[in-house]
Amino acid sequence: MTDTELEVADSEQHDAQIVIHAAAHDDLPSIIQIDSCASGEPKPDFWRECYERQDTDSGSTFIVAKSGDAVAGYAIGSIKTWEFGAPTCGWVETIIVAPEFRGRGVGTRLFDSVVDYFKASGISTVRTMLHIDDYALMSFFRIQGMSAGPFIELEMRSD
Protein backbone atom coordinates (compact mmCIF):
# COMPACT_ATOMS: atom_id res chain seq x y z
CA MET A 1 0.00 0.00 0.00
CA THR A 2 1.30 3.44 -0.80
CA ASP A 3 0.30 7.02 -0.13
CA THR A 4 -1.63 8.94 -2.74
CA GLU A 5 -0.60 12.32 -1.41
CA LEU A 6 3.16 12.13 -1.61
CA GLU A 7 4.86 15.21 -2.98
CA VAL A 8 5.49 14.96 -6.72
CA ALA A 9 9.21 15.55 -6.81
CA ASP A 10 9.71 15.38 -3.04
CA SER A 11 12.34 18.13 -3.29
CA GLU A 12 16.02 17.43 -3.39
CA GLN A 13 16.59 19.53 -0.27
CA HIS A 14 17.15 17.33 2.72
CA ASP A 15 16.03 18.50 6.13
CA ALA A 16 18.89 17.90 8.55
CA GLN A 17 16.47 17.83 11.51
CA ILE A 18 14.80 14.70 10.17
CA VAL A 19 16.07 11.47 11.69
CA ILE A 20 15.22 8.03 10.29
CA HIS A 21 14.99 5.03 12.60
CA ALA A 22 12.98 1.87 13.26
CA ALA A 23 9.34 2.48 14.15
CA ALA A 24 8.58 2.30 17.86
CA HIS A 25 5.32 1.39 19.54
CA ASP A 26 4.88 5.01 20.63
CA ASP A 27 4.91 6.08 16.96
CA LEU A 28 1.78 4.05 16.14
CA PRO A 29 -0.84 6.73 16.99
CA SER A 30 0.88 9.21 14.64
CA ILE A 31 1.30 6.54 11.95
CA ILE A 32 -2.41 5.69 12.12
CA GLN A 33 -3.33 9.39 12.07
CA ILE A 34 -1.14 10.24 9.04
CA ASP A 35 -2.56 7.33 7.04
CA SER A 36 -6.10 8.16 8.11
CA CYS A 37 -5.71 11.76 6.87
CA ALA A 38 -4.22 10.58 3.55
CA SER A 39 -6.63 7.73 2.81
CA GLY A 40 -9.73 8.97 4.61
CA GLU A 41 -10.09 5.61 6.32
CA PRO A 42 -8.66 4.84 9.77
CA LYS A 43 -7.00 1.40 9.87
CA PRO A 44 -5.59 1.03 13.40
CA ASP A 45 -5.61 -2.78 13.40
CA PHE A 46 -3.78 -2.95 10.09
CA TRP A 47 -0.93 -0.69 11.28
CA ARG A 48 -0.64 -2.49 14.61
CA GLU A 49 -0.32 -5.77 12.71
CA CYS A 50 2.34 -4.25 10.46
CA TYR A 51 4.25 -3.13 13.54
CA GLU A 52 3.90 -6.47 15.34
CA ARG A 53 4.98 -8.33 12.21
CA GLN A 54 8.49 -6.98 12.86
CA ASP A 55 8.81 -9.46 15.73
CA THR A 56 8.23 -12.50 13.54
CA ASP A 57 9.27 -11.41 10.04
CA SER A 58 13.02 -10.95 9.71
CA GLY A 59 12.62 -9.89 6.07
CA SER A 60 10.85 -6.60 6.61
CA THR A 61 11.62 -3.14 7.86
CA PHE A 62 9.25 -0.54 9.30
CA ILE A 63 10.94 2.84 9.60
CA VAL A 64 9.83 6.32 10.63
CA ALA A 65 11.17 9.77 9.81
CA LYS A 66 11.05 11.95 12.93
CA SER A 67 11.45 15.66 13.48
CA GLY A 68 11.86 15.90 17.23
CA ASP A 69 8.93 13.94 18.64
CA ALA A 70 6.79 14.38 15.52
CA VAL A 71 6.44 11.57 12.95
CA ALA A 72 7.12 13.19 9.55
CA GLY A 73 6.57 10.00 7.57
CA TYR A 74 7.12 6.29 7.50
CA ALA A 75 7.85 3.40 5.17
CA ILE A 76 7.67 -0.37 5.10
CA GLY A 77 9.86 -2.61 2.99
CA SER A 78 9.53 -6.40 2.70
CA ILE A 79 11.69 -9.05 1.14
CA LYS A 80 9.61 -11.63 -0.75
CA THR A 81 10.74 -14.81 -2.46
CA TRP A 82 8.81 -16.52 -5.26
CA GLU A 83 5.83 -14.23 -4.80
CA PHE A 84 4.04 -14.34 -8.19
CA GLY A 85 6.86 -16.63 -9.30
CA ALA A 86 9.50 -13.91 -8.91
CA PRO A 87 12.95 -14.58 -7.45
CA THR A 88 13.81 -12.76 -4.22
CA CYS A 89 13.21 -9.02 -4.42
CA GLY A 90 12.38 -6.13 -2.11
CA TRP A 91 8.92 -4.57 -2.09
CA VAL A 92 8.32 -0.98 -1.02
CA GLU A 93 4.93 -1.65 0.55
CA THR A 94 4.25 1.74 2.08
CA ILE A 95 5.71 5.20 1.92
CA ILE A 96 3.84 8.11 3.42
CA VAL A 97 4.86 11.66 4.33
CA ALA A 98 2.71 13.86 6.59
CA PRO A 99 1.37 16.89 4.67
CA GLU A 100 3.27 19.44 6.78
CA PHE A 101 6.59 17.73 5.99
CA ARG A 102 6.18 17.34 2.22
CA GLY A 103 8.64 18.95 -0.18
CA ARG A 104 11.54 18.54 2.26
CA GLY A 105 13.05 15.36 0.91
CA VAL A 106 11.50 13.14 3.61
CA GLY A 107 10.02 10.70 1.07
CA THR A 108 13.34 10.36 -0.72
CA ARG A 109 15.18 9.69 2.55
CA LEU A 110 12.65 7.05 3.56
CA PHE A 111 12.87 5.46 0.11
CA ASP A 112 16.68 5.47 0.21
CA SER A 113 16.64 3.92 3.69
CA VAL A 114 14.38 1.08 2.55
CA VAL A 115 16.59 0.49 -0.51
CA ASP A 116 19.68 0.49 1.76
CA TYR A 117 17.98 -2.18 3.89
CA PHE A 118 17.41 -4.30 0.77
CA LYS A 119 20.99 -3.77 -0.40
CA ALA A 120 22.35 -4.80 3.00
CA SER A 121 20.26 -7.98 2.65
CA GLY A 122 21.82 -8.71 -0.74
CA ILE A 123 18.71 -7.69 -2.70
CA SER A 124 19.26 -5.94 -6.03
CA THR A 125 15.69 -5.66 -7.37
CA VAL A 126 13.18 -3.28 -5.80
CA ARG A 127 9.47 -3.28 -6.67
CA THR A 128 6.32 -1.49 -5.66
CA MET A 129 2.67 -1.36 -6.70
CA LEU A 130 0.35 1.63 -6.78
CA HIS A 131 -2.89 2.81 -8.32
CA ILE A 132 -2.58 3.45 -12.05
CA ASP A 133 -4.24 6.86 -11.76
CA ASP A 134 -1.96 8.07 -8.96
CA TYR A 135 0.34 10.04 -11.25
CA ALA A 136 1.92 12.04 -8.40
CA LEU A 137 3.07 8.97 -6.51
CA MET A 138 4.14 7.23 -9.73
CA SER A 139 6.17 10.32 -10.56
CA PHE A 140 7.84 10.14 -7.14
CA PHE A 141 8.90 6.53 -7.69
CA ARG A 142 10.11 7.30 -11.22
CA ILE A 143 12.35 10.16 -10.07
CA GLN A 144 13.92 7.67 -7.65
CA GLY A 145 14.84 5.58 -10.71
CA MET A 146 11.94 3.11 -10.84
CA SER A 147 10.21 2.22 -14.11
CA ALA A 148 7.75 -0.38 -15.37
CA GLY A 149 8.81 -3.91 -14.47
CA PRO A 150 8.04 -7.26 -16.07
CA PHE A 151 4.77 -7.86 -14.17
CA ILE A 152 1.29 -6.48 -14.76
CA GLU A 153 -1.64 -6.61 -12.38
CA LEU A 154 -4.97 -8.04 -13.61
CA GLU A 155 -8.27 -8.32 -11.82
CA MET A 156 -11.91 -9.26 -12.35
CA ARG A 157 -15.21 -9.29 -10.53
CA SER A 158 -16.02 -12.64 -9.00
CA ASP A 159 -19.82 -12.27 -9.14
Binding site: V8, R142, I143
Partner: protein
Protein backbone atom coordinates in the same frame (compact mmCIF):
# COMPACT_ATOMS: atom_id res chain seq x y z
CA UNK B 1 3.81 4.13 -29.57
CA UNK B 2 4.29 6.16 -32.72
CA UNK B 3 4.47 9.93 -32.32
CA UNK B 4 4.36 12.53 -35.07
CA UNK B 5 7.77 13.89 -36.05
CA UNK B 6 6.99 17.36 -34.67
CA UNK B 7 6.10 15.82 -31.32
CA UNK B 8 9.36 13.87 -31.13
CA UNK B 9 11.41 16.94 -32.05
CA UNK B 10 9.57 19.04 -29.49
CA UNK B 11 10.27 16.53 -26.70
CA UNK B 12 13.94 16.27 -27.65
CA UNK B 13 14.32 20.05 -27.94
CA UNK B 14 12.66 20.67 -24.58
CA UNK B 15 14.78 18.01 -22.87
CA UNK B 16 17.92 19.47 -24.42
CA UNK B 17 17.05 22.96 -23.14
CA UNK B 18 15.84 21.72 -19.74
CA UNK B 19 19.20 19.97 -19.27
CA UNK B 20 20.86 23.42 -19.41
CA UNK B 21 18.16 25.63 -17.90
CA UNK B 22 20.18 28.86 -17.75
CA UNK B 23 21.57 28.70 -21.27
CA UNK B 24 20.39 30.32 -24.47
CA UNK B 25 20.64 27.63 -27.11
CA UNK B 26 20.66 28.73 -30.78
CA UNK B 27 17.82 27.16 -32.75
CA UNK B 28 20.37 26.30 -35.45
CA UNK B 29 22.26 24.16 -32.92
CA UNK B 30 19.09 22.24 -32.00
CA UNK B 31 18.22 21.81 -35.69
CA UNK B 32 21.66 20.40 -36.43
CA UNK B 33 21.76 18.01 -33.44
CA UNK B 34 18.36 16.50 -34.16
CA UNK B 35 18.53 16.65 -37.96
CA UNK B 36 15.47 18.83 -38.46
CA UNK B 37 15.02 21.88 -40.69
CA UNK B 38 15.16 25.26 -38.96
CA UNK B 39 11.77 26.08 -40.47
CA UNK B 40 10.23 22.96 -38.92
CA UNK B 41 11.91 23.61 -35.59
CA UNK B 42 10.73 27.23 -35.54
CA UNK B 43 7.12 26.02 -35.74
CA UNK B 44 7.71 23.59 -32.88
CA UNK B 45 9.35 26.30 -30.75
CA UNK B 46 6.47 28.73 -31.38
CA UNK B 47 4.03 26.17 -29.97
CA UNK B 48 6.25 25.50 -26.96
CA UNK B 49 6.66 29.24 -26.41
CA UNK B 50 2.90 29.83 -26.47
CA UNK B 51 2.58 27.09 -23.83
CA UNK B 52 5.08 28.92 -21.58
CA UNK B 53 7.64 26.13 -21.73
CA UNK B 54 10.41 27.87 -23.69
CA UNK B 55 11.36 31.44 -24.45
CA UNK B 56 13.04 32.73 -27.61
CA UNK B 57 15.38 35.69 -27.73
CA UNK B 58 16.30 37.34 -31.04
CA UNK B 59 19.57 38.94 -32.10
CA UNK B 60 23.22 38.22 -31.43
CA UNK B 61 23.62 35.73 -28.61
CA UNK B 62 19.94 34.95 -28.87
CA UNK B 63 18.38 31.56 -28.86
CA UNK B 64 15.88 29.52 -26.94
CA UNK B 65 15.83 28.67 -23.30
CA UNK B 66 13.70 26.52 -21.04
CA UNK B 67 11.51 28.52 -18.67
CA UNK B 68 9.17 25.82 -17.33
CA UNK B 69 9.41 23.69 -14.21
CA UNK B 70 11.17 20.44 -15.14
CA UNK B 71 9.89 18.80 -11.94
CA UNK B 72 6.29 19.34 -12.99
CA UNK B 73 6.13 19.24 -16.81
CA UNK B 74 5.42 15.71 -18.00
CA UNK B 75 5.77 14.05 -21.39
CA UNK B 76 1.98 14.13 -21.59
CA UNK B 77 2.00 17.95 -21.24
CA UNK B 78 4.21 18.27 -24.31
CA UNK B 79 2.62 15.56 -26.43
CA UNK B 80 -0.88 16.99 -26.04
CA UNK B 81 0.34 20.28 -27.55
CA UNK B 82 1.06 18.51 -30.82
CA UNK B 83 -1.24 15.52 -30.95
CA UNK B 84 -4.98 15.45 -30.57
CA UNK B 85 -7.43 12.61 -30.70
CA UNK B 86 -4.72 10.07 -29.77
CA UNK B 87 -6.54 8.49 -26.85
CA UNK B 88 -9.77 6.51 -27.14
CA UNK B 89 -12.73 8.56 -26.00
CA UNK B 90 -14.66 7.02 -23.06
CA UNK B 91 -17.85 7.68 -25.06
CA UNK B 92 -16.77 5.26 -27.78
CA UNK B 93 -17.58 2.23 -25.61
CA UNK B 94 -21.10 3.49 -24.95
CA UNK B 95 -21.61 4.22 -28.64
CA UNK B 96 -20.27 0.87 -29.90
CA UNK B 97 -22.99 -0.89 -31.94
CA UNK B 98 -22.36 -4.44 -30.66
CA UNK B 99 -21.09 -6.10 -27.48
CA UNK B 100 -18.00 -7.30 -29.36
CA UNK B 101 -17.12 -3.83 -30.61
CA UNK B 102 -17.72 -2.42 -27.11
CA UNK B 103 -15.29 -5.01 -25.71
CA UNK B 104 -12.72 -4.06 -28.34
CA UNK B 105 -13.06 -0.38 -27.38
CA UNK B 106 -12.65 -1.38 -23.71
CA UNK B 107 -9.41 -3.27 -24.46
CA UNK B 108 -8.04 -0.32 -26.46
CA UNK B 109 -9.01 1.91 -23.53
CA UNK B 110 -6.96 -0.36 -21.26
CA UNK B 111 -3.91 0.32 -23.42
CA UNK B 112 -4.65 4.06 -23.38
CA UNK B 113 -4.92 4.08 -19.60
CA UNK B 114 -1.47 2.56 -19.20
CA UNK B 115 -0.09 4.97 -21.82
CA UNK B 116 -1.66 7.98 -20.10
CA UNK B 117 -0.38 6.87 -16.67
CA UNK B 118 3.14 6.46 -18.03
CA UNK B 119 3.23 9.77 -19.87
CA UNK B 120 1.63 11.73 -17.03
CA UNK B 121 4.05 10.38 -14.45
CA UNK B 122 7.29 10.93 -16.36
CA UNK B 123 8.54 14.47 -15.82
CA UNK B 124 11.36 16.13 -17.73
CA UNK B 125 13.44 15.99 -14.57
CA UNK B 126 12.88 12.24 -14.32
CA UNK B 127 14.19 11.67 -17.84
CA UNK B 128 17.20 13.93 -17.34
CA UNK B 129 18.03 12.44 -13.93
CA UNK B 130 17.59 8.84 -15.08
CA UNK B 131 19.74 9.49 -18.16
CA UNK B 132 22.49 10.82 -15.87
CA UNK B 133 22.02 7.81 -13.57
CA UNK B 134 22.33 5.40 -16.54
CA UNK B 135 25.45 7.18 -17.79
CA UNK B 136 27.05 6.94 -14.33
CA UNK B 137 26.16 3.24 -14.14
CA UNK B 138 27.66 2.59 -17.60
CA UNK B 139 30.79 4.51 -16.62
CA UNK B 140 31.08 2.51 -13.40
CA UNK B 141 30.62 -0.79 -15.20
CA UNK B 142 32.96 0.14 -18.02
CA UNK B 143 35.35 2.91 -16.87
CA UNK B 144 37.54 2.62 -19.97
CA UNK B 145 34.59 3.05 -22.33
CA UNK B 146 35.34 -0.24 -24.10
CA UNK B 147 32.42 -1.76 -25.97
Amino acid sequence: MKLQQATRYSILAVLHMASSPNEQIPASELAEIYGVSQHHLAKVLRTLSRAGIVESTRGAGGGCSFIGDARKITLYDIIRLFEDDWLTSPNEEAQAPTAVSAELVRVLGEVDRITAATLQSVTLQTIIKNAERSARRRQKENPNGDS
